[in-house]
C-alpha cells in the first residue's frame, strides 16, 4: 500500500503541517513499490520486492532548519515527527543561505504514470528473465541481466499552502550476453516509463548479435578516430557533463563554464552549431515530475544549449537571488535534438570509423576541461566504406564532451536512454563525431 491516493496523502500532509509551531514547514510523502529480478550464468540468482513509504518534515525557526522522517502515520506519530524536527532546528546552527518556503505555485501537467508498468508482477519479471535466458541457452551464449521496476508517488504541502501530488512509474532492463569462451560480449538496455512496448525477447537479440559478432576482435592502434557513438555510449559522457552545469560553480571560477577573468559563459558559443539541448518536464516518453526535488520550484520547458550557444545553467534558489536572476527549477531531464537517421544510416555514410555500442566506468580526469576517461565495451567495430568490417578490441578514451560536441559530423534520431553514471532521464541521439581520442587498448571483453 505504498501508493497513497491524493486524498489520503493530502489528509496526512494537512494534519502534520497543522501540528507545527515553527516559523514555517514543508512536509513530503514519498512511497514506492520496487520489484526486481536478477539473473546470471543463465540462472535466476535473486528476485525481490520492497514496499516503503516515508514522511519527511522540514521546519525552520528563522534560518535554523531541522528535518525528521517517519514511516508511521497515526496522529501521535505525526505529532512526534514534527516535535523532533523542531527540536533539531532549535539546535542547528543558522544557515546564512537559508531560503524561505515557496508560496503557492502553479505546476504544469506531466504524464509520468503508466498503468502497464505499475501492473508488473512476479510472473512478469520471471518471464523477462526467461525470455532473456532461453534464447541465450539455445545458442550457447550466457546471459546476465537485471530488471527493476518501480511505481510510486510523491506529495508535499508547506505552511504557505504550496502543494503537489504526482504518481510515476519506471522500468529499467539491462542484459549482458557473453559467448561461452568469453571472447565476445554484447549488451542491451531499455529504460522506459511505460513497459507496454517493451519486449525482452526482442531486445535480447540485440545483445546476442553483438556478443557473437564481437568475438574475433582485432587490435587497432589507439589514436584519433571518427566514431559513431550509439545513444547509450554517448549518454555516459553527456550525463557526466551535466553534473557541472551549476551556475554558482561557474561564477566562482571553478567550472568549465567559468569565463577567464570572471563570470560565466552564458550566451557564448561553447559547442558546435549542431548542438541543441533543452529540458522539458512534459516531453513525451521522457516526462518527469513538474517540480524539482529540492525546492519544489515549478519545472517548465527551457532551452539549455541553442545551436551550440549556452543559454541556461542550473541555479540554486540562493544563487539566483544573489545574482538577481529569476528562480528556476533544476533540470529534470535532458533532451538533445538530432536528425532522423538510425545508427545503421550513420554507418552507411561513414568512410572509416569506429562504432561504439557502450561506454563504461567514466570518471573525471580534469574538471577544468571536463576531460573524462572511460572505456568502450560490449561491441566495438571497425567501419569501412559504409559497412561494419570487423570487431575491434576495446579502447580507453580520454575525451572531453565539450570538445566532442565541437567535433560533430552528424546526429541521428534521439532515443530515451539511461546512463550508468546518472539517474537523469535523457533523450540522446546516436552521434557521428570526428577526432575522438582513444589513448590505449584494453584486453577486456
Amino acid at each position: 500500500m505504498s501508493i497513497l491516493s491524493e486524498a489520503q496523502a493530502k489528509t496526512i500532509l494537512t494534519k502534520v503541517v497543522g501540528f507545527s509551531k515553527a516559523d514555517e514547514c514543508t512536509a513530503q510523502l514519498i512511497g514506492a513499490i520496487r520489484g526486481n529480478v536478477r539473473f546470471a550464468r543463465n540462472d535466476v540468482s535473486t528476485a525481490g520486492i520492497t514496499d516503503n513509504i516515508e514522511l519527511s518534515m522540514q521546519v525552520a525557526f528563522g534560518k535554523r532548519v531541522g528535518t525528521a522522517t517517519i514511516n508511521q502515520f497515526d496522529d501521535a506519530a505525526l505529532e512526534r515527527v514534527v516535535r523532533r524536527a523542531e527540536e533539531l532546528a532549535k539546535l542547528a546552527p543558522e544557515n546564512p543561505e537559508f531560503m524561505p518556503a515557496l508560496p503557492k505555485q502553479t505546476y504544469m501537467k506531466t504524464d509520468t504514470f503508466s498503468a502497464s508498468t505499475a501492473g508488473i508482477d512476479a510472473a512478469y519479471r520471471a518471464k523477462v528473465a526467461t525470455d532473456s535466458i532461453g534464447p541465450c541457452r539455445a545458442e550457447k551464449l550466457i546471459a546476465a541481466g537485471y530488471l527493476e521496476d518501480q511505481a510510486g508517488f510523491v506529495a508535499f504541502l508547506n505552511s504557505k499552502g504550496n502543494y503537489g501530488y504526482q504518481t510515476s512509474t519506471s522500468s529499467d532492463y539491462t542484459c549482458t550476453v557473453r559467448t561461452e569462451d568469453g571472447r565476445g560480449s554484447g549488451w542491451v538496455g531499455h529504460n522506459v516509463q511505460d513497459v507496454a512496448t517493451f519486449n525482452a525477447g526482442e531486445d535480447i537479440r540485440v545483445a546476442m548479435r553483438k556478443a557473437s559478432a564481437s568475438a574475433e576482435a582485432k587490435a587497432l592502434e589507439p589514436g584519433k578516430y571518427t566514431v559513431i557513438l550509439e545513444p547509450a555510449a554517448a549518454a555516459g559522457l553527456v550525463a557526466f557533463m551535466m553534473f557541472f552545469f551549476d551556475a554558482r560553480s561557474a561564477d566562482e571560477g571553478r567550472s568549465f563554464l567559468s569565463k577567464k577573468g570572471g563570470g560565466n559563459k552564458l550566451g557564448e558559443q561553447v559547442y558546435g552549431p549542431q548542438v541543441t539541448m533543452f529540458t522539458d518536464p512534459a516531453y513525451p516518453g521522457a516526462a518527469v515530475l513538474p517540480w524539482d526535488d529540492g525546492d519544489n520550484l515549478p519545472r517548465k520547458k527551457l532551452p539549455i544549449i541553442q545551436n551550440g550557444k549556452l543559454v541556461n545553467m542550473n541555479y540554486s534558489r540562493f544563487w539566483s537571488q544573489k545574482q538577481g536572476k529569476p528562480e528556476q527549477a533544476q533540470f529534470g531531464n535532458v533532451i538533445m535534438e538530432g536528425g532522423t537517421k538510425s545508427t545503421a544510416d550513420l554507418i552507411r555514410t561513414t568512410e572509416r570509423g569506429i562504432l561504439v555500442s557502450r561506454t563504461w566506468y567514466i570518471r573525471m580526469v580534469d574538471p577544468q576541461t571536463v576531460l573524462l576517461t572511460g572505456l568502450t565495451r560490449d561491441g566495438t567495430f571497425y567501419i569501412e566504406n559504409g559497412q561494419i568490417k570487423y570487431p575491434v578490441k576495446n579502447f580507453r578514451f580520454n575525451e572531453s564532451p565539450v570538445i566532442m560536441l565541437n567535433n560533430v559530423e552528424e546526429f541521428g534520431k534521439p532515443v530515451r536512454v539511461k546512463s550508468d553514471e546518472s539517474d537523469m532521464v535523457m533523450v540522446i541521439p546516436p552521434m557521428k563525431l570526428r577526432d575522438f581520442t582513444f589513448t590505449s587498448l584494453s584486453d577486456a571483453v
Binding site: 550466457i142 571553478r254 569565463k259
Partner: protein, 544 residues
C-alpha cells in the same frame, strides 16, 4: 560509488529532505548513543529461526540490524547540513529445498519476523525448481553467544554536534586564511549495531564503528581562468573520534616536505597544506608524457590495489555473477591453478578481515564465519580468491574466507571485498632511499581520477600531488599526470616496496556492487612502492 562521488553529491547542495532517505530515518543526536537490548535481539532471532524450521528450512540466519549514521557538511564559513539517520530491522535468509530465500521486515516483533521467515522459505521453495544445483554451504561451527566491538577510544556518536561543527569551521577558516578560494569539509560517522544468529548455533553481537573526514580545497586564479582542487590526505578508518586528534605519532613527513597521516589525522594542518598546494598546482609545469618509474605513496596506492587486485580476485566476479554490473575478471580459475604471475616477486598481497583500524575489520562476517587473514598473491603468484560459504567448494576450499557483508538489514549478504593490502618489504628501505635510486620518475601522493575496464585489465589513475624525480632527487611539483596500466604488467613492474615503518592504510567508504546496488567500506594498506616503466599521459586540454 566511491568517495569522490560522495563529495560531488555533497557539492550539489542537496536539501535536508533528500539526503536522509539514502540511509534511513532521521533521528535526534542523543538516539545515536543507545542500542537494542541483546535479549530482545535473541528473542527475535529465535522466533525467526523457529518459524523458518517449521516451514521447512534446512538452514536459517537472522540479522537484526540497527544502522546509525551522522553527517556534518560544511562549505567555507557555513554549515550546510547536519543529519542523523537510523535504519533498524531484521533480515532473514533461509535454505529450503536446496535454494536460497530472503525476506526482511522493519517491524521488530516476534510475529513480524516469523511472518518474514515464512516468506523467505516460500521464496526459496519457489526458486528451487529452476535451480541447476542445490546450495552447498561450507560448514561453520556455532559459537554460542559472543560479542565484539571495534576497538575505539572515543565513540564518535557521543561527541556533541557543536564540537564537530567547531572543528570543521576551524578547518575551513584555516584553509581560507592560507589562501584557498573555497573549501568543502565533511564528517561522516557510521555505527553498525549488528546481531547475527543462525541455526548453526551462533548468536553474535557486534558494534562496528567507522569515521571519514574528507575535504576538497579549491584554488582559483580568475585572471588565467585556471582552478585546481587538492583533496584531503586522510583515510576513512575503522576508528572512533580519536582519529581526529591529530597526534604527532600519526604524522609522517615525506622527503618532499608533504605531511601524510596514519592512525591519526590533523585535519586543520592538512587543510592549510591543501590550500598552499592547490595554489602551487595552478602554477606547476605540465608533465611530459612518456615512460616513467613511479614512486607511489600509500595514500595513492590503496586505490590501485582496490581496483586492480581487490576486485578481480572476488570469486563471484570470476564466475560471472557480476557480469551485468560490476563486471567479470581476467584472473580466471585456470590462472589460479597455474599460479599465474600476477606480479614480481616483490608483490605479496593479503586479504584481511581482522586488521585493527581498518574499515573491514570485524570478528565475524555476516554469515557468522570467524574472520581471518589469507594470501591472495604470494611472491608474485596468484594463490587465492575471496570466497564465502556457498562459493568455497567451487575454489576447492573447506571453509569460507569470512568476507560476506550486507549494507543493511534489508539487503541480502553476499561476497564483498576484504581489506586487501600490499605487504611491506622485508628489507629495511626508506622512502628517501627508494627515491635516491630513481633516474627518471614521478612521485605520486593522494588518490585522484580512477577508471578500469570490466575485466580489470586496463586502468588509468590520477592523484593529488605529483613530483618529478630526476637522478635520485625530487626536482619540482608537476601537473596533468595520469598513468595507464595493464594490470599484470604493472604489478610485474613492481621493483620495490618500502619497509613496515612506512605502512599506512587508505580506503573507500562507498564501494558499490550488486543489483540492487549495495555499498561497503574497505581499507587497503601498503608502504611506498616503486613501479618501473609505466606509461604516463598528459591530461591538459584546451577548450579554446
Amino acid at each position: 560509488m566511491h568517495r569522490r562521488d560522495f563529495l560531488a553529491f555533497g557539492a550539489a547542495g542537496v536539501g535536508g529532505l533528500v539526503l536522509p532517505s539514502m540511509f534511513g530515518k532521521v533521528i535526534a543526536a542523543e538516539e545515536l548513543n543507545s542500542a537494542i537490548d541483546v535479549a530482545v535481539k535473541k528473542a527475535l532471532a529465535d522466533a525467526a529461526m523457529n518459524a523458518a524450521k517449521s516451514a521447512g528450512a534446512s538452514y536459517c540466519d537472522v540479522r537484526v540490524g540497527r544502522y546509525l549514521r551522522q553527517f556534518v557538511i560544511t562549505r567555507e564559513r557555513n554549515v550546510e547540513n547536519v543529519v542523523n539517520t537510523e535504519s533498524t530491522g531484521v533480515g532473514i535468509r533461509v535454505i529450503a529445498n536446496g535454494a536460497w530465500g530472503f525476506a526482511a521486515t522493519n517491524e521488530m516483533t516476534k510475529e513480524a519476523v516469523a511472518k518474514a521467515a515464512g516468506q523467505a522459505v516460500a521464496i526459496a521453495k519457489a526458486n528451487a525448481p529452476g535451480q541447476s544445483a542445490p546450495v552447498q554451504l561450507a560448514p561453520v561451527t556455532g559459537v554460542g553467544e559472543v560479542s565484539w566491538r571495534t576497538p575505539i577510544v572515543k565513540n564518535s556518536m557521543t561527541v556533541p554536534i557543536k564540537d564537530k561543527v567547531d572543528l570543521l569551521m576551524g578547518v575551513n577558516a584555516a584553509a581560507l586564511d592560507a589562501g584557498a578560494s573555497f573549501i568543502r569539509s565533511i564528517l561522516f560517522l557510521v555505527n553498525e549495531q549488528k546481531y547475527f544468529a543462525s541455526t548453526d548455533g551462533s548468536y553474535i553481537d557486534q558494534d562496528v564503528h567507522r569515521i571519514w573526514a574528507p575535504m576538497e580545497v579549491t584554488a582559483v586564479d580568475k585572471a588565467s581562468g585556471k582552478f585546481r582542487v587538492r583533496e584531503g590526505l586522510s583515510a576513512p578508518m575503522g576508528l572512533g573520534y580519536e582519529y581526529l586528534d591529530g597526534a604527532a605519532s600519526g604524522k609522517t613527513v615525506l622527503p618532499n616536505g608533504v605531511t601524510v597521516y596514519g592512525q591519526s589525522y590533523d585535519m586543520k594542518e592538512d587543510a592549510v597544506a591543501a590550500a598552499k598546494q592547490a595554489m602551487a598546482k595552478i602554477k606547476a609545469p605540465s608533465v611530459k608524457p612518456g615512460k616513467y618509474d613511479l614512486v607511489l605513496d600509500p595514500s595513492h596506492t590503496w586505490l590501485t590495489i582496490h581496483e586492480s587486485v581487490g576486485h578481480p580476485l572476488e570469486l563471484d566476479r570470476v564466475l560471472g555473477y557480476e557480469a551485468n554490473y560490476a563486471g567479470t575478471s581476467f584472473a580466471t580459475m585456470d590462472k589460479l591453478k597455474a599460479n599465474f604471475h600476477y606480479g614480481s616477486d616483490k608483490v605479496n598481497i593479503v586479504a584481511d578481515k581482522t586488521q585493527p583500524g581498518s574499515l573491514g575489520a570485524v570478528s565475524y562476517d555476516d554469515e557468522g564465519v570467524k574472520t581471518k587473514k589469507w594470501d591472495l598473491i604470494r611472491d608474485g603468484k596468484l594463490v587465492g580468491y575471496q570466497a564465502i560459504r556457498d562459493q568455497a567448494h567451487i575454489e576447492g576450499k573447506a571453509a569460507s574466507d569470512g568476507c560476506a557483508y550486507a549494507d543493511s538489514w534489508s539487503n541480502v549478504q553476499f561476497q564483498r571485498m576484504a581489506n586487501v593490502s600490499l605487504e611491506p618489504g622485508k628489507a629495511k628501505l626508506s622512502v628517501a632511499d627508494m627515491i635516491s635510486n630513481v633516474e627518471d620518475g614521478i612521485y605520486i601522493i593522494g588518490d585522484g581520477s580512477f577508471s578500469i575496464d570490466q575485466q580489470r585489465y586496463n586502468a588509468q589513475f590520477g592523484g593529488q600531488l605529483f613530483y618529478e624525480i630526476k637522478q635520485g632527487k625530487i626536482t619540482q611539483q608537476i601537473e596533468d599526470v595520469a598513468y595507464q596500466i595493464r594490470t599484470p604488467e604493472f604489478w610485474n613492474g613492481c621493483a620495490g616496496v618500502c619497509d613496515a615503518s612506512d605502512y599506512r592504510l587508505g580506503g573507500s567508504f562507498f564501494d558499490g556492487k550488486g543489483q540492487p546496488a549495495q555499498v561497503s567500506a574497505v581499507s587497503h594498506g601498503s608502504s611506498t612502492a616503486r613501479f618501473n616503466g609505466i606509461n604516463v599521459i598528459n591530461t591538459a586540454r584546451s577548450l579554446g
